[in-house]
């Protein structure tokens, strides 16, 4: 196991903050280290993807390419994650992920998650609950953006960073308790 439980929990409290070492261990054992060099492409927009990355060190840029233009939507650093959608539903990647610096991530594939759900359901339930909360939050932010002063569109593509996973979203929504 290339990372200890305490450090991983501290980096990703929303995903596994409530898991003790014994419960977190199967998740960490399911993951593989993914070191990266500056400039390395970790994920290609449109290419098949079935793995998420959990950033431990360094920084990666999330980019989207439209005809004639490539826009960096945001930079993810330690404690952020990306590509959780193909982790749940493998398919074409929505973005390029390119290392901005040297660094390292932990990688989890769809197959790893399926095995975790089968063999360690209690751990998988907590982890998946964190992913669900993140996805739900991203949808909430997106839905609220429609009807915002920018007319439902990000004022710039960079503003769309708020819809990417695992980021600390500016202006995070605090839902009204019922």
């Amino acid at each position: 196991m290339p990372i200890d439980a305490e450090r991983f929990r501290a980096l990703f409290p929303r995903l596994c903050g409530s898991l003790n070492d014994a419960a977190l261990s199967p998740l960490l054992e399911s993951m593989r280290p993914r070191p990266f060099a500056a400039g390395e492409r970790l994920c290609t927009q449109g290419g098949h993807s079935a793995r998420a990355l959990f950033i431990l060190r360094g920084a990666v840029d999330v980019q989207v390419t439209a005809p004639g233009v490539t826009v960096t939507l945001g930079t993810l650093e330690a404690g952020a994650w990306t590509n959780t959608i193909p982790l749940i539903e493998p398919g074409p990647a929505e973005f390029d992920v390119v290392a901005q610096t040297i660094g390292a991530a932990m990688e989890l594939t769809y197959g790893d998650l399926s095995a975790l759900r089968r063999d360690h359901p209690n751990t998988a339930r907590v982890f998946l609950g964190g992913l669900i909360a993140d996805l739900s939050h991203r949808l909430r932010v997106s839905q609220l953006a429609v009807g915002s002063p920018s007319g439902g569109q990000p004022r710039s593509a960079r503003e769309a960073t708020g819809w990417l996973s695992g980021t600390t979203i500016p202006g995070a929504i605090v839902p009204e308790e019922s």
Partner: protein, 149 residues
Amino acid sequence: MLDSLLGSQWLFDDFSSREIAQIAGAMTERVVYNGEVLMLANERPDRLLVVLEGSVEVSKVEDGVDRVLALLGPGSLVGLVALLDRGRRAATCTARGKGRVAEMPRDAFDLLQQSNAPLADKFQYAVARQLAHDVKQMTRGLLSDALGE
């Protein structure tokens, strides 16, 4: 009838017939008609919908004009976000054409979220798949707008 309709939906493709029957037991099925408002923006969530037949339009008023955010077809879970974050509904959902939906009361949804039974784990994964699908569609639309495609 509800069992077979639920079992044929993509989100429930790995549920056994017994598990489908258990989920169906927590739901009620009904016919909906064109233009019927099924969920209203800003209201407190009291149920989850599964579209069984027909389609449901998700919209939000923007500068006095309805903007359609999505058109959801059979198999879609509708109304997840507010149930999960305990906020208010962010959008209005309206039946487009005659259709059929299944409704799960909030209590049953919460119970499934809190349970550690194998059925609850499968349902949790179905929720994750629906959200992943929704985020992908929403992100695609927003980026398309932002990039002027």
